[in-house]
Amino acid sequence: MDRRGFFGVGGAAVLLCTIDGKQVAVRTADDVEKVDAAMASLRRPRSAARKQTQRDPLDSASFPSPEPQPGGQKREYWIAARPVKWNVAPNGGDQWMGKPAPRPSRFTAFVYQRCSAGFAEPIGPPKMPGPTLRAEVGDTIVVNFRNMGTGRFAQPITVHPHGVRYTPDYDGAYLGDFTRVGGFVEPGEEFTYVWEAVPESVGVWPYHDHGPNHTLNTFRGLFGTVIVKPKGAPIPDVERVLYLHSFSPQVTGIPRLLHCVNGRTYAGNTPTIRAKVGQSVELHVIGGDSNFHTFHIHGHRWQDSGGANVDNPSVGPNETITAAFREDNPGRWLYHCHVFTHQDAGMAGWYLVDP
């Protein structure tokens, strides 16, 4: 085992899933297969309101769908979740170290993909993270979601957002017998989520699967980003979202942990960001697994939300930090997670600044 392989396997975590009310350790690909099979046969929960022993008026309460505020608009998206063949190192090499990236590098991922209206056709290739949903305060975000899971991914899934306001129906969370309508979308079904961009929603947030198998499915690629700006706020010249996350061997069947940025591993495969001196830059970094990461850009520094100067802030699971600065330093730079085991296993990329 080489150094990178050692770091990779050493960082793998045991996943925990719940089957029939029992917590199960998912250590191997076989365990994953069993969990998938159990989830595929999971029955749609009955309404908790029908169960005398668990009845609570809250569970049968109805809530109106939100409308945009005056001056706001409805931002409509069509998003399908579907399996895709995924290569974490499509360009082959680790450009930072000038070596080939370890093989194998392909597995079947599960992603959210933006589509045209009516799911008539996909818009662009499948990506991680999934579509970025943009809104301004006062808008509603309407997500027409379709579960196109097939094979072992034919199981109920959802879309659960952070940051925006929603009623329980649009939570997109499986809650066992208390599951509301949007918390269990079976293969072939659609559900339309409606979320509000309220003033407190300003920021950059993740969304992800929160169905009954959400841990595994989020780790397979079912995640994306919501960006809410104040009304009329300018868009930065360069704005990118970077998910720091990993694919575990249980999920991929590849015998090492794959440390990734946006589903790719090693510089040259991970996103290469390009800017020019003088441009406003905002890089939104989100922790996309169960690890804590840091985000470091060589040659740059910026202020955190508290006003402190930083160049390597930490970011936890499903937390967002933003590196915002006016570009002033041309050259080829690295960005990476500064947890050494992560950066050495591929959580790094290029930041190129033109004069």
């Binding site: 608009q73 409805k74 045209s116 209206a117 009516g118 799911f119 008539a120 056709e121 379709r146 309508v181 979308v185 079976e186 072939g188 079904e189 659609e190 559900f191």
Partner: protein, 449 residues
């Protein structure tokens, strides 16, 4: 919302003939599709083979169907089968009926000469979920070529349906299916039809893709059709192309949450009253006087429907039209009044007139009724109605659109005063232009053998 009651033409509106619901020709009653869920049969699925020769155990498809159960595959060899195939009941969930997928015309389901129920449909799927039918040519049935009712998750692909008494390929009161890579022609109602889709909280979308529909009264009809995407298909040489419509003769009006995307919709100027390869029925859009001929896409009452990225050309009356369902608007029932309203429809990024090489008579017609309807990014090359474009609100659509009584009068004038005994009356509002050349297709206005 009420229609423009002040219009003098309103009294004539009730006489307008718009697409009718499925004709009651031995149709099974509508149930609740998918009520029990698809049952998975224990044991290994079988393959049953049908052919006209002695080597096959089954000489008729019906005989194989009677022996088959859900999940089985029935393979049908080339030949002509004079029968109406009936697949009814949940015991057939997941059945596959496979003809010649490379050359569907080699496996003919022939309705001519049949009597009774067998003469109605080439293939009837009733109350059976997840059934697949592919690789057949159904012709000369009294009702439909291929008909799905009360089912969830049908797959109809690589089929041909022609010369039927009503519809070519048809799904009614069903949820979530696929119609693809198929052709329907010379049907005296619609080539393809999805109707009476039950409302669903988490809908199963139906996809119609890569189909051809031509030489029909309508290319596609959709009475109270929901959650349907029609894409990448050709609708040409029909009386009108694609017509989602709201009617109270079927359950669940109006049509809602449909998408018409990426299709070619052209030359829909087939004046069947001047001659047709089929009999004009007593009912249906052709049977009643006053149905417009020469429209590419017509929304006759629709909600939350998207019409985008279509190429619409050579339709002599109008490429696209949207009008309130005026008959429902006159009903006392507030639910039917609501169903009449054009609400939340989006028409965007369509290309009209094929770069100037095949112009529509008019590109877009909209009476301005309803709320939240909007138009964006369309390339138009012929005049719109109204000519001042005052009804074509930009996206997102306004809380209330701006009605235009002159536009509605003009639209009504196209269907009032026509007379099916005088075919020329259907052409008097056409604005004709030279057609383009489309490989393998000739424009059809008046049928001659």
């Amino acid at each position: 919302m009420l229609p423009f009651r002040s219009l003098p033409l309103v009294a004539s509106v009730a006489l307008l003939a718009f697409p009718t619901a499925a004709l009651a020709i031995d149709y099974p009653p509508a149930g609740n599709p998918g009520k029990g869920g698809t049952k998975v049969r224990a044991g290994k699925a079988k393959t049953l083979t049908v052919c006209k020769q002695r080597k096959c155990r089954y000489r008729s498809i019906g005989a194989a169907v009677r022996k088959a159960r859900g999940g089985d595959t029935i393979k049908v060899r080339n030949g002509t089968y004079k029968e109406g195939v009936n697949i009814t009941g949940s015991r057939y969930d997941g059945l596959k009926l496979v003809g010649n997928t490379g050359k569907p015309r080699k496996v003919v389901l022939q309705g001519k000469g049949l009597k009774g129920a067998k003469a109605q449909n080439g293939v009837l799927i009733n109350n059976a979920d997840g059934v697949t039918v592919k690789g057949f040519y159904a012709r000369k049935y009294k009702a439909n070529g291929f008909f799905v009712v009360n089912a969830v998750g049908y797959t109809l692909t690589k089929l041909v349906a022609g010369h039927t008494g009503v519809y070519g390929i048809y799904a009614f009161n069903s949820k979530g299916g696929t119609m693809s890579r198929s052709e329907a022609f010379e049907n005296n109602d619609a080539g393809f039809y999805i109707g009476q889709t039950p409302r669903q909280t988490k809908p199963k979308r139906s996809i119609v893709s890569k189909v051809k529909s031509h030489t029909n009264v309508l290319g596609f009809s959709g009475t109270n059709m929901r959650y349907v995407t029609i894409k990448d298909s050709d609708f040409y040489n029909n009386g009108s192309g694609i017509v989602p419509n709201a009617l109270d003769s079927e359950k669940f009006p109006p049509p809602d949450r449909n998408v018409i995307s990426g299709n070619r919709i052209f030359w829909n100027n087939f004046n069947y009253y001047a001659g047709a390869p089929f009999t004009i029925p007593a009912s249906g859009p052709a049977g009643l006087a006053g149905y417009p001929i020469g429209v590419g896409v017509l929304l006759f009452g629709s909600q939350n429907t998207v019409v985008e990225k279509n190429r619409i050309f050579g339709n002599w009356l109008a490429g696209f039209g949207a009008i309130q369902q005026i008959q429902l608007a006159l009903e006392k029932d507030p639910k039917l009044q609501e169903a009449s309203v054009l609400r939340g429809n989006t028409v965007r990024n369509n290309d009209f007139g094929l770069g100037g090489g095949d112009l529509n008579g008019r590109d877009m017609f909209y009476d301005g009724s309803g709320t939240g309807n909007c138009f964006a990014g369309n390339t138009v090359r012929s005049p719109n109605v109204p000519a001042d474009n005052s009804t074509f609100a930009p996206c997102p659509g306004p809380a209330a659109n701006t009605p235009n009584s002159d536009a509605q009068k003009e639209g009504l004038s196209w269907v009032v005063g026509v007379n099916k005994s005088d075919p020329s009356t259907f052409e008097k509002f056409w604005i004709k232009h030279p057609h383009s050349v489309q490989k393998g297709i000739k424009p059809l206005e008046r049928f001659t053998r």
